[in-house]
C-alpha cells in the first residue's frame, strides 16, 4: 500500500525539481547547439546555460512563467494506493498548491472568463492529470511537466492524399509563424501527433514533446526516420533562438501516432521550450521514491496495436 503522505511529498518534490533543475538531456542539447551557433543566437543559448546554472545554485525557478503545471500518472496494474485514486488526485492538487506558495511558483491559473486567480495553480480541471496503466507492475510513476502554452502549438486536419508533404508544410507553417521573435521560446523539443481523434491527436503530440528525452527515437524505424527528416527540415529554416538567424530551432523532434479515421490524417505540432521542465519519480510498493530524468511514459504496452 502506497501512503497518501508519500504521494503528496513526492509530488511536491517533483514540482520543485521541475521548476528549478533543467533536465540533463535538454541542457546537453542546448550546450551542443551553442557550440555551433554564432553571434546573437549563440549569445542567447549561452545566457540560457548561465540561467540553468543560476537556478540550480540559488534553488529558484529557471523561468518565472510557471506555465500550466500538470501531471502524468502511470499506475502499475497491481499498485495499491491509500485512499484510492480520489486520494491520489487530492495529493496532486494539494502538492501543487503547497509548491506554488513555498518555491514560489507564479500562480498562473485563472478562471478563463472571470480571470479570478485562486493563487495556488489549482482550479476547475487544473492541474490536468493524464492517466495510463502498465501490466505486471506494483509501482506508481508520477511525472510533472511545467509548460507555457500561449505560442507554438497548432492543429490541422489533413487528409491521406496530403501525405508527408502536408505534414511538412504544416510543421513549417507552425515553426515559422511562432519561431519569429522566438515566441515559441526555441530551441524546442517538437512533438508531432499524427492520427487519433482530434483530442487524441493533440494529446499525443503534447506527450511526444514533453515525455520523451532528447535523442530518443520511435521504435518503428520508419517513424524514427521521419522524426530525423522533420527535425532537419525545422533546422533548415535558418532560425535560431529568439528568431535570430541561426540553426537552432529544433533540439529534437518526436512523433507519436494513433489509429485514425479512414478518411483523415489529423496532425498536431507542439513546442517544448527553452525551459523544458519535467521531472519523474517512481514510488515502489514499499513507498521508496526513485527520481529519474526519463518519464518512460510510452511503452510497448501503451503503443500496442493488438486487441490485448
Amino acid at each position: 500500500m502506497i501512503a497518501y503522505r508519500t504521494i503528496e511529498q513526492a509530488a511536491f518534490q517533483l514540482m520543485e525539481k521541475a521548476a528549478i533543475d533543467i533536465p540533463e538531456d535538454y541542457r546537453r542539447a542546448v550546450a551542443a547547439m551553442s557550440e555551433r551557433e554564432q553571434g546573437l543566437s549563440c549569445f542567447v543559448l549561452k545566457t540560457m546555460l548561465d540561467n540553468y546554472a543560476a537556478a540550480s545554485a540559488d534553488r529558484r525557478p529557471m523561468c518565472a512563467d510557471t506555465g500550466l503545471p500538470r501531471y502524468y500518472v502511470k499506475a502499475g496494474n497491481d499498485a495499491r494506493i491509500e485512499g484510492g485514486f480520489v486520494a491520489l488526485e487530492k495529493a496532486l492538487r494539494t502538492a501543487t498548491a503547497r509548491a506554488t506558495k513555498s518555491i514560489p511558483l507564479r500562480p498562473n491559473r485563472v478562471h478563463p472568463l472571470w480571470r479570478t486567480d485562486p493563487n495556488n495553480n489549482v482550479g476547475i480541471n487544473a492541474p490536468e492529470i493524464d492517466w495510463s496503466f502498465e501490466p505486471n507492475a506494483d509501482w506508481l510513476d508520477l511525472t510533472t511537466v511545467h509548460k507555457g502554452g500561449l505560442f507554438g502549438s497548432d492543429y490541422r486536419m489533413l487528409f491521406p492524399g496530403d501525405g508527408i508533404d502536408g505534414i511538412k508544410r504544416f510543421l513549417l507553417d507552425t515553426l515559422v509563424a511562432f519561431g519569429k521573435r522566438g515566441l515559441a521560446c526555441q530551441p524546442a523539443i517538437v512533438g508531432v501527433g499524427i492520427g487519433g481523434s482530434k483530442d487524441a491527436c493533440m494529446m499525443l503530440g503534447k506527450q511526444a514533446a514533453c515525455l520523451r528525452l532528447v535523442g530518443d527515437r520511435h521504435p518503428d524505424p520508419k517513424i524514427a526516420e521521419l522524426e530525423g527528416e522533420l527535425m532537419e527540415l525545422g533546422n533548415r529554416i535558418g532560425m535560431g533562438a529568439m528568431g535570430f538567424a541561426g540553426r537552432s530551432m529544433v533540439a529534437d523532434l518526436h512523433i507519436e501516432v494513433g489509429h485514425t479515421h479512414t478518411g483523415g490524417m489529423p496532425v498536431s505540432v507542439h513546442t517544448f521550450c527553452l525551459s523544458s521542465r519535467r521531472a519523474t519519480v517512481r514510488i515502489d510498493a514499499g513507498g521508496a521514491r526513485h527520481f529519474r530524468d526519463d518519464p518512460k511514459w510510452f511503452s510497448d504496452y501503451s503503443r500496442r496495436e493488438t486487441v490485448e
Binding site: 546573437l40 545566457t47 540560457m48 485563472v110 496530403d162 508544410r169 519569429k180
Partner: protein, 222 residues
C-alpha cells in the same frame, strides 16, 4: 557576427544614455523598474485610477512581467524567478501610457511591430529592451535587490499587480529598438525570410484550405 557589446545602464535613463545604445547590445540595468501589463493598463487608462507613484520614482522603466513572488514571514516578499511576457498584446495602450507614466524604457518579450516603434515609441523618446531566451528567470531574479512596493495586489492578483523592484546588474537584455525606431527583430526576420520560399518548394498544398489573415510566410502573425 560577433558577440553583443555589453553595457550598464543607470535608471532613469536620459535621452543621451538611450541614444548611445545600438541594436543588439546587451544591457544590464541599475535602479528601479516596475511591472505593468494589461491589468495595470486597464486600471489606469480605462478606469481612470491614479498612478501610485510619480514618474521620477518609477525608473521610467515599464517591465512586461509577472514575477514568481509570494509574501514571506513579516510581510517581506520573496521573489523567485522573473520572466517577461509577450509585449505585442499591449501596443494598443502604449501611446497613452507613455503620456501618463513618462516611461522611456519598455522591457518585455519579443518586442512590438516596427510600425509601433515609429508611431508610438519614437515620439515618446522611448526604446524597447527584450529579455533573452526567453526565460532567464533565475538570472533576472538574482538582479532584484528588493521589492520596494507592490500596488493593487488584492485587486489584480499576483501576476497583474504593479511590482516596484530595486535592481542591480539586472539583465541581460538586448536592445530591440532604438530612438530612430529601428528594430532588431525586423532586421533578423528579413535575413530569415530570404530563405523561406525555398523551404516550401516542391511541397504540394493540402486538399483542404483554411481561412486566415495571411498566407504569406514572410509576414509576422503578431
Amino acid at each position: 557576427m560577433s558577440a553583443p557589446a555589453q553595457t550598464r545602464l543607470k535608471l532613469p535613463a536620459s535621452r543621451d544614455d538611450l541614444a548611445r545604445l545600438r541594436l543588439g547590445d546587451a544591457v544590464y540595468i541599475d535602479g528601479v523598474v516596475y511591472t505593468g501589463r494589461e491589468g495595470v493598463y486597464r486600471r489606469v487608462l480605462e478606469e481612470g485610477a491614479k498612478l501610485p507613484l510619480p514618474p521620477e520614482q518609477t525608473g521610467r522603466a515599464n517591465f512586461h512581467c509577472s514575477p514568481a513572488a509570494s509574501a514571506g514571514d513579516g510581510g517581506a516578499y520573496k521573489v523567485g524567478g522573473v520572466t517577461a511576457t509577450a509585449s505585442f498584446r499591449f501596443a494598443k495602450w502604449m501611446k497613452e501610457w507613455f503620456e501618463i507614466s513618462g516611461a522611456n524604457l519598455i522591457i518585455g518579450k519579443g518586442g512590438m511591430r516596427a510600425r509601433d516603434y515609429r508611431e508610438l515609441f519614437v515620439p515618446a523618446g522611448a526604446i524597447y529592451l527584450t529579455t533573452v531566451g526567453y526565460g532567464t528567470g533565475a538570472l533576472l531574479g538574482r538582479g532584484i535587490r528588493r521589492v520596494r512596493d507592490v500596488f493593487w495586489l488584492e485587486e489584480l492578483g499576483n501576476a497583474q499587480a504593479m511590482w516596484v523592484f530595486e535592481v542591480e546588474n539586472f539583465g541581460p537584455f538586448l536592445v530591440e529598438s532604438d530612438l530612430s525606431g529601428n528594430s532588431l527583430f525586423e532586421r533578423e526576420g528579413a535575413r530569415i525570410n530570404a530563405n523561406i520560399e525555398s523551404l516550401y518548394r516542391g511541397l504540394k498544398s493540402p486538399a483542404l484550405g483554411r481561412f486566415g489573415e495571411t498566407g504569406d510566410r514572410t509576414d509576422e502573425v503578431i
